[in-house]
């Protein structure tokens, strides 16, 4: 099944089942996926289909699965500095201020760190809140802190679990540009979970569509539009329809035309 050009990340026949006393839930079923270095992959799928689970397995946070996951040819042993992760919830440390949350294990007394942190705070537009505690932040602000925290470390692979979910349309657009910038500059490999189909197409090289119960890959749609993309172009709209129709096959919804997703 291996592709000829060695992929950076290879996921081979991954199955994952959660057990509890009430029974078991199969979250992932025979997932096969290869990601090249520097690729931007977006993942979409219905709520509860296993996107977060997949991301956690790639991050090395969850090692109780069947199958084989390799990064750069090596089996993934655990999380590491080379893999950045943005959780679905902000998960800030409540006892640390914004800037300390971003610095996390690094010392703010190090001028290089200090400078980078300040830069990132400006990038996520949180100037003036450096010394605030998480409970003093709004939902979107907390999420931006979490993004800044992951970006600080310049990981080789960045795993993002709905990072822009709590952001308004404009902040979101801004953050998308920031992410694309970083991607192009650093050649970071991105795996990005989102619920926004436009966002998925706007950012990705390939869109992975998952279907639920058990979570499995429904289809992978390559996006070959040149950058920068415009959401209003016909080619964009065509791809959008394609992704939507794939999605549609999963769900039995007839609301699409009326709600005009």
């Amino acid at each position: 099944m291996k592709t000829v050009s060695e992929p950076l990340l290879s996921i081979e026949h991954v199955n994952k089942t959660f057990h509890s006393n009430k029974g078991s839930v199969q979250a992932l079923h025979d997932i096969v996926l290869h990601v090249k270095e520097g690729e931007f992959l977006t993942v979409i799928g219905p709520s509860g289909c296993g996107k977060s689970t997949l991301l956690k397995i790639i991050a090395g946070l969850d090692v109780q699965y069947a199958g084989d996951v390799r990064l750069g040819g090596q089996p993934i042993k655990g999380p590491g500095i080379d893999k950045g992760f943005i959780f679905q919830e902000p998960r800030l440390f409540p006892w640390l201020t914004v800037e300390k949350n971003i610095a996390a294990d690094l010392s703010l007394r190090d001028p290089a760190v200090r400078e980078k942190v300040n830069e990132l705070i400006a990038l996520v537009r949180l100037e003036g809140f450096e010394k605030s505690y998480p409970r003093e932040l709004s939902g979107g602000m907390a999420q931006r802190v979490a993004i800044a925290r992951a970006l600080l470390r310049n990981p080789k692979v960045l795993l993002l679990d709905e990072p822009f979910g709590a952001l308004d349309a404009f902040t979101r657009t801004h953050m998308q540009e920031v992410l694309l910038d970083i991607w192009q500059k650093n050649k970071t490999t991105m795996i990005f979970v989102t619920h926004d189909i436009d966002e998925a197409i706007y950012l990705a090289n390939r869109v992975v569509i998952l279907k639920p119960r058990p979570g499995a890959i429904r289809n992978i749609v390559p996006i070959d539009l040149p950058l920068p993309r415009k959401k209003t172009t016909t080619s964009f709209q065509e791809l959008r329809l394609k992704v939507l129709s794939e999605f549609e096959k999963i769900e039995e919804l007839e609301l699409i035309d009326s709600s005009g997703i």
């Binding site: 026949h13 199955n15 089942t17 057990h19 090692v63 699965y65 069947a66 199958g67 996951v69 042993k77």
Partner: protein, 281 residues
């Protein structure tokens, strides 16, 4: 820890997962018991050997075998069983009284700032009054019957639960409190569905400490004119320099510690299974 529990990635073992997990769990329990008894067994062996070699005074420190003999003798005469029964009843009675009051007051003080302000300073002061110093007052007020003993034990059992319940409540996340307010929970429902479960880890810790304290309180309580009980057995044996019996008492105390601890752990496993907290590695 999690690393070693998982089936090695790459093995197609999802079907077997359940089975191995159970096996692993029972194996883990065995390992746990084994590891847990390691230290006591080593200590006992060393103790016996040193005692036999005469390195430690067998008068102050009778060897485990002699203690065991004394225990067997006491058990055969029925003395041990009778005294144990009385002590357990006292300790449990005192614990039930002190702990339930401690819980009630802890909840009251934790819930309402008004009661906190009025009661907490006084309670904190009473907490610092030593048992031994006020034993005569207890006798004067409550006599030397079971009442004073149970009350003295209850006094000891009160505070750990009080303070743990109180602090547990004050540690409840305000965001969940807001949820109950929005959903229009009655006070009672707020206590039963939010406060108790949220403070449960702390409350159970309080129960553990309280149980220990009630058991320890026996020693002082049974000094107050009693003719039975493990605490009495120990102090009596000390008066007559019967050290092995003192050690039998100590062993009973120790095993009670383990027992009560296991009990509360069981409760923890049952009631706190919803938690997803750190388990050590």
């Amino acid at each position: 820890m999690s690393q070693s529990v998982s089936p090695a990635p790459g093995l197609p073992g999802s079907r077997k997962g359940l089975l191995t997990e159970q096996q692993l769990r029972s194996r883990q329990r065995l390992a746990r018991i084994g590891l847990g008894s390691l230290v006591p067994i080593l200590v006992l062996a060393l103790w016996q050997v040193l005692g036999d070699l005469g390195i430690i005074s067998s008068l102050l420190f009778p060897t485990p075998l002699r203690i065991a003999q004394a225990a067997v003798r006491l058990a055969q005469t029925g003395e041990l069983g009778d005294n144990l029964k009385i002590s357990v009843l006292r300790a449990l009675g005192g614990f039930a009284l002190g702990a339930s009051l401690g819980l009630a007051f802890g909840i009251l003080v934790g819930l309402f700032r008004q009661t906190e302000r009025a009661l907490d300073p006084t309670v904190q002061m009473i907490r610092m009054v030593p048992h031994l110093a006020i034993a005569p007052l207890f006798i004067l007020w409550f006599g030397i019957g079971e009442t004073s003993k149970v009350l003295l034990i209850a006094k000891g059992a009160f505070f750990p639960l009080y303070i743990n319940a109180y602090m547990g409540i004050r540690g409840v996340d305000n965001r969940l409190f807001d949820v109950t307010r929005v959903l229009g929970f009655s006070r009672w429902k707020q206590i039963m569905r939010l406060i108790i479960p949220a403070a449960l880890p702390n409350i159970l810790l309080g129960v553990r400490i309280s149980l220990g304290v009630s058991w320890l309180g026996l020693v002082v309580a049974e000094l107050m004119g009693s003719t039975a009980g493990i605490g009495y057995l120990m102090s009596d044996a000390r008066q007559f320099s019967k050290t092995p019996i003192v050690f039998v008492g100590i062993l009973i105390f120790a095993s009670f510690g383990i027992l009560s601890d296991a009990l509360v752990r069981l409760l923890e496993r049952k009631w706190l299974s919803w938690r997803d907290s750190y388990q050590g590695r």
